[in-house]
Amino acid sequence: MKKRWYDYLWIASLLYLLLGFVNILFAWLGLLCFFIPLLISAVGGTKGYCNRYCGRGQLFALLGGRFGLSRKQDIPRWMKSKAFRYGFLVFFFAMFFLMLWNTYLVFAGVRDLGQVVTLLWTFRLPWHWAYHGTLFHPGVAQFAFGFYSVMLTSTILGLVTMLLFKPRSWCVYCPMGTMTQLICKAKQGKTPV
């Protein structure tokens, strides 16, 4: 099948992860992966982002598929259940809002900037070498550290399930995918598919 420009967006995803090691402020670019899928689903009523533009999904497909880094086994039944998918969505967003709260505390001057990336919501890795100051408030950098933590954590989860199950197993429980599907369902209402 003929390759389109958007079939190469995995390069952007890879670049994003690498840039986080160079200057943490690049983490702000990750907001595109939040707003574009939401816009496409809220305005267009489709999962066009997942279906075409998701560079992360492409990266997993490439690593797990062409590079063979996947067992290509069925994902466990519980991982594709609505309870787990919706539960993970709620948990992910609870953690996201906690990160926003921590950012607010730095903006409010209550807390100092923490130059760490928190992996799997638990492990605090020193990341000061990717921080070279900011022209703006330290809170801007705090958001970058927090957002990059979210992105790196979800990449690691995606890589683990890629290895264990099918290349794009992340897509099954990706919070953005679950949310955009919910938006599409809400938009359609009770119209039969």
Binding site: S41, T46, A61, K80, V172, G177, K185, Q188
Partner: protein, 69 residues
């Protein structure tokens, strides 16, 4: 004319589909589509039941079934 010949076709479990679109990318005949961001749907008239989509589906919700022609 009704023939008794059975053909292999892909079938999606729409309730379990996450509409990621992995199946669409691998189908050599464009015989599967994502409908309104909710579920994948097989275009039966195009599907030859090759099974590529079923192997690719990360949620393993596509099966290959024999249907009457």
């Amino acid at each position: 004319m009704i023939s008794g010949k059975k053909r292999r076709k892909a079938a999606v479990d729409p309730g379990a589909c996450v509409a990621c679109g992995c199946c669409v990318k691998v189908c050599p005949l464009q015989a599967i589509e994502i409908v309104r961001g909710i579920t994948a749907r097989v275009k039966e008239e195009l599907c030859v039941g090759c099974g590529k989509c079923a192997r690719e589906c990360p949620a393993s919700v596509i099966t290959i079934r024999e249907v009457g022609a």
